[in-house]
């Protein structure tokens, strides 16, 4: 879960990292300002500046107009709910401070660069020496002396070294305390008066750990904080509704495509495999999905009906890996019911049914009754995909 800038900054504030003076501005609020300000759309994506989400204003009237403009903007699919207004002060130098997990080394890694404020990944590729990276452990954390070693090796000394090291150490504290997967201050600005101030920051909290942080869990429940996060189609929304009909199994992750072959595929890895295979044999999928666990007949039936309701879709491919948890007979029953309720012929509509595994004999009986040819476990996923693609074209 990605926090908005102002949400992240409240956490930084709690840990006494210095911030520019600022506040959140909603629609139509009167603005009293006594100097130039930055107006920043609160949306959960990187590259806000490039997307037009950060504007400067010199006086109250200009700020009012620009806040109104930002609140009406569609920034890469997001419509800001609020704008964060901050004092605009001259910056002498910008630094990058970050903490994330190195998934290969299986360790947290602290990242520091004296060249902040730019696309750090680009810089890291172009001039790796300018971006210091060091692993640490969750057990030992990143005490100030370790942070100092990293900052010093980046060529920083004197007062600046003493100022930067505690900020990096504190950022690692926040990262660990909040179960973050990303914690970044970019840039951390060195101001004219010598202060180090977090100008922008980015926190992402592990979705699997949100429940142990009451403040973050409350944000997650607030459905009004972000608008436009899911750019779903009506078809995808209906599919999500079907998945929540009951708690048995998964019939989800439906993504709409513009082809003519409906797909009921699963589980995760097999769905990816089947989708690729259908395309490589010239098939044009109408959708992606992932069936898993042991979905009820109801869910499979409704998903079948939904897919067949798409204009131009008259065939469905049912392909899963050898199943142990999912029951073949329940999938077969759901498919047949869905097709019959659409007034179509199961034998004509099912381009391929390749789901071997648990309860397959019972499943195959249902399929034979309706004249649907059965592909057993000796037919591989790509062979099944080829049959489906050929029939659909």
């Amino acid at each position: 879960m990605r926090l908005l800038e102002h949400e992240s900054k409240r956490i930084l504030e709690k840990y006494r990292i210095a911030l520019p003076a600022g506040r959140l501005v909603g629609p139509g609020e009167p603005l009293a300002i006594d100097g130039p300000v930055m107006l920043k759309a609160q949306i959960p994506i990187g590259g806000r500046g490039k997307a037009g989400g950060i504007l400067a204003a010199e006086d109250a009237e200009e700020a009012r107009q620009k806040v109104a403009l930002l609140l009406q903007s569609n920034l890469r699919g997001y419509i800001p709910k609020s704008v964060y207004m901050e004092e605009k002060k001259a910056v002498k130098q910008e630094f990058f401070l970050g903490v994330t997990y190195d998934t290969v080394a299986k360790a947290p890694v602290a990242i520091f660069s004296a060249a902040g404020g730019v696309d750090i990944e680009e810089l890291a590729q172009r001039e790796p020496a300018l971006v210091r990276r060091e692993h640490f452990t969750v057990g030992s954390r990143l005490p100030v002396h370790r942070a100092r070693e990293i900052v010093a090796d980046a060529g920083i000394s004197g007062k600046l070294l003493l100022g930067l090291s505690p900020v990096l150490s504190t950022l690692a504290e926040i990262f660990l305390d909040y179960d973050a997967t990303v914690a970044e201050i970019n840039p951390l600005g060195l101001m004219e008066d010598g202060r180090l101030v977090a100008l922008d920051c980015h926190l992402e909290i592990d979705d699997d750990a949100v429940s142990r942080h009451a403040d973050i869990a409350a944000l997650e429940k607030d459905t009004g904080r972000v608008e436009g996060e899911r750019r779903t189609t009506d078809f995808e929304r209906e599919a999500a509704g079907i998945d929540s009909l009951d708690h048995r199994g998964v019939a989800g992750r439906v993504i709409e495509f513009d082809g003519n072959l409906g797909l009921i595929i699963g589980g995760g890895g097999a769905s990816l495999t089947a989708f690729d295979a259908i395309r490589s044999h010239g098939g044009r999928p109408a959708n992606y999905c992932e069936i898993g666990g042991n979905p009820s007949v109801l869910k499979v039936r409704e998903l079948t009906r939904l897919i067949l309701s798409k204009p131009g879709v008259d065939k469905i491919a049912v392909i899963m890996n050898v199943v142990s948890n999912t029951r073949v007979d329940l999938v077969a029953r759901g498919i047949v019911k869905g097709i019959l309720e659409c007034g179509r012929s199961p034998a004509e509509t099912v381009a391929v049914f390749r789901v071997p595994g648990a309860w397959e004999e019972e499943g195959f009986k249902i399929l034979s009754k309706y004249g649907i040819p059965i592909q057993g476990r000796t037919v591989s996923i790509d062979e099944a995909a080829k049959i489906a693609a050929t029939k659909a074209n």
Partner: protein, 297 residues
């Protein structure tokens, strides 16, 4: 021969009284796995399919020495369960539980590393050395496992649990047996990834080739290619990379949490290019896995 576990491996099950664990404990016993004890704090003294249940790992091990544990407990309790097992001398932990906070995973892996213990998972269906042992719930009931898996010279390491069985089934139906088949777990950080496991297959004299099942996301495949290029591994590797269509949809999440594509890094295109450069076989179609494996058996 098998890697990680064989017919002599003695196994405990942490969380044995849970619904899922009760069910896979039966499947493990039916397959011949030496399950010696179960642990559920507060339920000591009960029995599950005849297996005695203890309150603590220490109590269980006093009566029943063991080598490995299968852990199926709620996500918030996983870290404690792994640490309890490792501190009591268990050297292989298979963590079936899903949705384990990443910090917890990293933390118990730090301890595992210090104590030379190996972790498979979290979020894994487990592993099977056909005809010998099965840890976790891969493959379902024992009768189904016997249909899909058979002993032989090809290893499997897969980022998808379901596809572990699917690959074994493909090989079995084409007459090729397997040495050890491992679902490595679907999380971005797992105890044993391809970089950890391929060297074990490489050192196993009876494994002649190994099949990898990959998905978009992460850079383990890229790092593995570097290892092969540096001639640190000589075992033939057959890579199958699913989800090629995901490259065209940056930012969309597919399947497992790990499947998040950011630019070209972690894309299937980048993985395939690196595999080819390193001389790792890339199976174009799923059936090709068996065609390539045939050359080595």
């Amino acid at each position: 021969m098998a890697i990680l576990a064989d017919e002599n491996t003695r196994v405990i099950v942490q969380g044995i009284t849970g619904r899922e664990a009760t069910s896979f404990t039966k499947d493990m016993l039916d397959y011949g796995t030496r399950v010696v004890a179960g642990i559920t704090p507060g339920k000591g003294g009960q029995r599950v399919h005849g297996i005695p249940v203890y309150d603590t790992v220490r109590q269980a091990l006093r009566e029943h020495p063991a080598d490995a544990t299968v852990i199926s407990v709620p996500p918030a309790l996983v870290k404690g369960a792994v640490l309890e097992a490792i501190e009591n001398g268990i050297t292989l932990a298979v963590v079936v539980s899903e949705r384990v906070p990443r910090k917890d995973t990293i933390e118990f892996l730090e301890v595992a590393k210090a104590r030379n213990a190996r972790v498979i998972g979290p979020n894994t269906l487990g592993l099977i050395s056909p005809g010998k042992v099965r840890l976790g719930m891969a493959g379902g009931p024992a009768a189904d496992v016997r249909k899909a898996y058979m002993p032989g010279p090809v290893g499997i390491a897969s980022r998808s649990g379901g596809m572990t069985t699917e690959i074994a089934n493909l090989l079995t139906t084409r007459g090729i047996g397997q040495s050890t088949c491992i679902g490595i777990g679907g999380d971005p950080v797992v105890g044993s990834n391809f970089l950890d496991l391929i060297p074990l297959f490489d050192r196993d004299p009876e494994t002649k080739a190994v099949v990898l099942f990959s998905e978009p996301g992460g850079v383990v495949e890229e790092k593995l290619s570097e290892l092969v290029l540096a001639q640190k591994l000589s075992i033939p590797i057959i890579g199958f990379i699913a989800g090629r269509f995901v490259d065209g949809m940056p930012g969309v999440r597919f399947g497992h949490a790990a499947t998040i594509v950011e630019g070209n890094r972690g894309s299937t295109k980048s993985k395939i290019e690196m595999f080819r450069k390193a001389g790792i076989h890339v199976a174009e179609s799923f059936s090709d896995i068996a065609e390539i494996a045939k050359r080595y058996v």
